[in-house]
């Protein structure tokens, strides 16, 4: 597989001594959707800024299509990449169409091509009807789509999206995910960040879990789940987990197979029905349980087992 973006031992320490990235190494392959999954403050945006030449790493090196970060902004490779930052980059007082036009002229796209390109993108992102509206008057979802459409003006090979669904309502979010999937079908390499598990699971060919500046695991969503918690997990909700309860649990399940999150336990084990049987047979333990379910594991569980933390605050 060809490498689109290669990140080698990147560490970033900000001026205020915050270590936002700690020896990060991974590759993004051509044509895949790679999702960086991690909680707020994990270092996702920092990494993207380094890839797009906005920030200098404290140490390490980044290569985009084989060009090192030092040469990136001076080489034509920069024209084959686009990114949409967390905050929409739009000119608020220009219409949707004008925003696209201006971005297109910044890429010096010939006028005739510009018109057709704008038309395509307007259709693609369902902005055709809104094309004469001022960008500042658009809804959050439409602004986001406009941002992405603008980033696609130059028909980049690589698209980097920082939290593309942040702040969108469920409908807009679904439509955004559909758009991103379409982009993949066009053969684009997409690197996106998210702190939302469902998104990573649905979109990503591969997921990189990042926490506190470190890459914890990189794999396909299925493998990641399989390796960290198996295909299914057991989720048990207690009124309260007292020391006695905890002891009783440990007598049934090894501690390594338990992730504790407040009054909730996630349990991974090869033979879950057998575990359930054992729990049932312990009357005292069973009586303290509010809810018990066996379900398919998700990346949230994987994250929990890998980091011992919740991805999103509950």
């Amino acid at each position: 597989m060809q490498v689109a973006i290669s990140i080698r031992n990147v560490t970033k320490i900000y001026e205020n001594k915050v270590k936002a990235l700690d020896n990060v190494t991974f590759d993004v392959y051509k044509g895949e959707i790679f999702s960086l999954l991690g909680p707020n403050g994990a270092g996702k945006t920092t990494l993207i800024k380094i890839i797009t030449g906005q920030l200098e790493p404290t140490s390490g090196e980044v290569y985009v299509l084989g060009v090192s970060g030092k040469e990136f902004l001076r080489s034509d490779v920069r024209l084959r990449i686009s990114y949409v930052p967390q905050e929409n980059i739009i000119w608020p007082h220009l219409t949707v169409e004008e925003n696209l036009y201006l971005m297109g002229s910044m890429y010096k796209i010939p006028k005739s091509d510009l018109k057709t390109r704008i038309r395509e993108l307007l259709e693609e992102f369902e902005l055709l009807e809104a094309r004469k509206r001022l960008a500042k008057k658009l809804s959050g979802g439409m602004k986001r789509k406009l941002s992405i459409a603008m980033a696609l003006m130059n028909d980049p090979d690589i698209l980097i999206l920082d939290e593309p669904t942040a702040g969108l309502d469920p409908r807009a979010r679904a439509s955004m995910l559909a758009s991103i999937e379409k982009l993949k079908q066009l053969g684009k390499t997409i690197l996106l960040t998210t702190h939302i598990v469902e998104e990573a699971e649905r979109l990503a060919d591969r997921v990189g879990i990042i926490n506190a500046g470190k890459i914890i695991a990189i794999d396909t969503p299925d493998n990641m789940k399989l390796n960290s918690c198996g295909r299914e997990v057991l989720e048990i909700l207690f009124e309260e987990i007292s020391d006695e309860i905890w002891d009783r649990i440990l007598s049934i399940i090894p501690e390594n197979n338990i992730a504790k999150a407040g009054d909730k336990l996630i349990i991974k084990q090869d033979n879950l029905p057998h575990i359930i049987e054992k729990i049932r047979s312990d009357e005292v333990l069973y009586s303290k349980i509010l809810a018990l379910s066996m379900r398919k594991s998700n990346l949230e569980d994987a994250f929990l087992f890998l980091t011992g933390q919740f991805l999103r605050g509950e």
Binding site: Q54, L73, R78, P85, L94, E98, S105, Y107, L134
Partner: protein, 476 residues
């Protein structure tokens, strides 16, 4: 062309943002209200105004007791004017040359060799004398009457009678008629002529006050001695009686319109250009907010991934603000023309110059803003630049008389301290090319134009260097 697209879109963006209209309309309106309410006399420069003086008056004689005085108040007024200084300075207000005839006066004023010629007409001295006597009567009658009453009530009848006799004597000054008139020969569309007109009023009143004071004191002394009484007068009593019939007649040469209109026009000739440039200066502060927003939103970083060069981007911003300035100036000028403050009197060349000046003023301010944004980040930038530009614009717009010493001369144009503020040349250039186009030829606008061009180029170059180094500079 990419830069063209940037210019067009930035311009569109700018004129669609509501902030701009606050700057374009809100601020100038506030200033127009504030400064419009101030008298037009504030716009003078602190330097002697060259005027002619034509005295066609004849001397008069008057006697007080045994003494006979022979005076020519025309001459005295001339001497008085020569001694006038600008407040708090050692600078004479007028530089007076004597003019011997009406023809000479019209000739000199017509060629603008002098700002105007002041004429004290025949009968001036007689009228002044009558006014002095009148004022003296009004001043002394009250005092003498009061003193007589006082003496009478305290039983000193003999003293009371002497006061009454003095009162009877001063009463010969009652019912004197007078009309004090001076004639101003000049072109009312010439700002300095209008300034002389205003100053003439002011100085004529203080001249009469001065003379009245001396006359009243002289007369009071005479009465005191003659009737063996004490009469003392204060300045205030004289002052309260001075405000009587005064008249400054403006005898205009050239032009057609009436005095009042031309005065208003003159007034706005000075104020409108200052105000247009001021509002352009203030509106261009939006550049800061716009650029700050673009920096914060990451657009500046984003642009680095495109094909656009920093020169093209900065150039686009600056030129678009030149166009915004033009747009703004057209709005303001249209308002001024509709209100009748501006009359279209110049040649095409005048207007081309004026338009170029306006565009340059916009570019100049935008460059200044870009330079400032490069150094001050965040919210503070806007406020800091606002304070700087507001202060500078207030100083140079010509609302107040601020000492403005000459520091040099180039192409026949005098350079003053204020020319250090780059916008000053835009104001003076605009004043000449737009408002005073009937007086100044386009060639005479050139020194201001060149100075502005020089400043603009300097600032643009600086903004390119500073902004691309500090903001658009590549991070690697």
């Amino acid at each position: 062309m990419a830069i063209l697209s940037i210019i067009i879109h930035k311009f569109k963006g700018a004129i669609r943002s509501k902030e701009l209209y606050i700057y374009i309309i809100g601020f100038p309106l506030i200033f127009m209200i504030i400064y419009g309410s101030l008298a037009g006399s504030f716009y003078s420069k602190v330097e002697p105004i060259k005027i002619g003086f034509l005295n066609t008056d004849t001397s008069v004689e008057y006697t007080i007791g045994d003494a006979t005085y022979r005076v020519n108040y025309g001459e005295r007024f001339c001497t008085f004017l020569k001694s006038m200084k600008y407040e708090d300075t050692n600078v004479n207000v007028f530089n007076i040359i004597n003019v011997s005839s009406r023809e000479e006066a019209e000739n000199k004023a017509g060629k603008l060799e002098v700002a105007a010629v002041l004429e004290t007409p025949r009968g001036f001295s007689g009228n002044i004398t009558n006014s002095l006597k009148s004022i003296t009567y009004l001043t002394l009658a009250g005092i003498l009457n009061e003193k007589a009453q006082e003496a009478y009530e305290s039983g000193n009848y003999e003293l009371a009678i002497r006061y009454w006799e003095a009162l009877a004597e001063v009463s010969e000054f009652t019912n004197l008629t007078y009309s004090i008139k001076i004639i101003l020969i000049g072109d009312p569309t010439y700002s300095k002529a209008m300034q002389v007109y205003e100053l003439s009023w002011k100085y004529l009143v203080s001249f009469v006050f001065n003379e009245a004071q001396s006359f009243a004191i002289l007369y009071a002394d005479y009465l005191s001695e003659k009737y063996n009484i004490t009469v003392s007068i204060s300045n205030e009593t004289v002052a309260s009686n001075v405000e009587r019939a005064f008249q400054v007649e403006f005898e205009r040469i050239g032009g057609k319109e009436g005095l009042k209109e031309s005065f208003m026009r003159m007034y706005y000739a000075v104020l409108v250009p200052g105000q247009i440039i001021q509002s352009i200066m203030i509106a261009a502060i939006s550049v800061i907010y716009m650029v700050q927003r673009e920096i914060e939103s990451g657009l500046m970083e984003r642009i680095k991934l495109t094909k656009i060069s920093s020169a093209e981007y900065i150039g686009g911003i600056l030129l678009s603000w030149g166009i915004v300035a033009l747009f703004q100036a057209i709005l303001m000028l249209a308002a001024a023309i509709i209100l009748g403050y501006v009359q279209v009197v110049g040649t095409i060349l005048h207007y081309i110059l004026a338009i170029t000046i306006l565009v340059m003023a916009g570019i100049l301010t935008a460059s200044f803003s870009l330079i400032m944004t490069s150094f001050v980040r965040g919210e503070a930038a806007g406020s800091i630049v606002m304070v700087i530009l507001l202060t500078v614009s207030l100083m140079i717009a010509g609302y107040f008389p601020i000492p403005n010493p000459v520091i040099g001369k180039l192409f026949g144009r005098e350079f003053t301290i204020m020319d250090i503020a780059p916008w000053r040349s835009a104001i003076t250039g605009l004043r000449k090319s737009l408002m005073l186009a009937n007086i100044y030829s386009p060639v005479e606008v050139l020194p201001d134009f060149l100075l502005l061009t020089m400043w603009t180029i300097l600032y643009v170059v600086l903004s390119f260097v500073v902004f691309s180094l500090r903001i658009l500079r590549k991070r690697y």
